[in-house]
């Protein structure tokens, strides 16, 4: 819930951007997506990808640890149960650059991925599924703990 309030607030600018994307081809070229990886906020990353704010869903299975022993590698496993999921995004809200990854699933490939992501600090992680009938997200909060005898 806080995600939609805080990060996906639809401003007039964004609304017009998403209107444009309706007219644009489904996928922008890969090279055109690179600037999204430099975005420092979630709404900016989505805007750079020409995506409208996604809706909350329970149809994305998102496995992430509640507490990470180390932020250098946090395992995540995501599976979409939404029909016709073409791609998924992984975003870490508090990272210097919020967009971690984009995965594309051609026909015959399951909308599933597992990887390990760096987390600069305790943060929400968002998984967004891009489907034929719109974009949907789900969120996990991962607490990154401090460790060790020397800080």
């Amino acid at each position: 819930m806080p995600l939609s309030r805080r990060n996906f607030m639809v401003t007039a600018v964004q609304a017009s951007v998403s209107m444009l994307t309706l007219l644009a081809p489904r996928w922008v070229l890969a090279a055109d997506r690179r600037p999204a990886f430099d975005a420092t906020a979630i709404d900016a990353a989505l805007q750079a990808l020409g995506l409208p704010p996604p809706q909350d869903t329970a149809e994305i299975l998102f496995k992430a640890p509640e507490i990470a022993e180390n932020g250098a590698a946090v395992p995540v496993e995501v599976e979409s149960r939404l029909p016709n999921t073409r791609a998924m995004l992984l975003l870490v809200e508090k990272n210097p650059h919020v967009l971690s990854a984009r995965f594309e699933f051609p026909a015959g490939t399951e909308p599933f991925f597992a990887t390990r992501v760096k987390m600069a600090e305790t943060s929400r992680i968002h998984a967004i599924a891009l489907t034929d009938s719109g974009n949907f997200y789900t969120t996990r909060l991962v607490k990154v703990t401090l460790g060790g005898c020397g800080g």
């Binding site: 946090v74 870490v92 210097p96 594309e104």
Partner: protein, 103 residues
């Protein structure tokens, strides 16, 4: 020359489960070395998987995928004995392809 990827591809029913470990520093450009100097960003930007001439998976990454990346995905339409090829390209223009046989 980058080190080879370690790829496992196992057929479970109709689905091939692929798991890969990739030797790569995935430098964010924000880390300082022992001398306090910033280590320049250097990370894998794209990774594709092909099987029988068909692209079955594509990943685009930022610098925040963990060092020595782990990746798993699943696809249908292949048999045991088929070959799957993974190819990555990084921000320095380096790339590497490795192949595994589906078991």
């Amino acid at each position: 020359m980058p080190d080879p990827m370690l790829i496992r591809a196992v057929l479970k029913g109709e689905t091939v489960e692929v798991k890969a470990l990739i030797a790569h520093v995935m430098e964010t450009g924000q880390r300082k070395d022992a001398d306090g100097k910033l280590v320049p960003a250097h990370y894998i930007e794209t990774l594709t998987a092909t099987c029988g001439g068909r692209q079955v998976f594509r990943a685009e990454w930022g610098a925040s995928i963990a060092r020595n990346p782990y990746l798993s995905f699943r696809f249908k339409g292949a048999q045991a004995g088929d070959k799957i090829t993974l190819t990555w390209t990084d921000t320095a223009g380096a790339s590497r392809s490795d192949e595994a046989t589906i078991r």
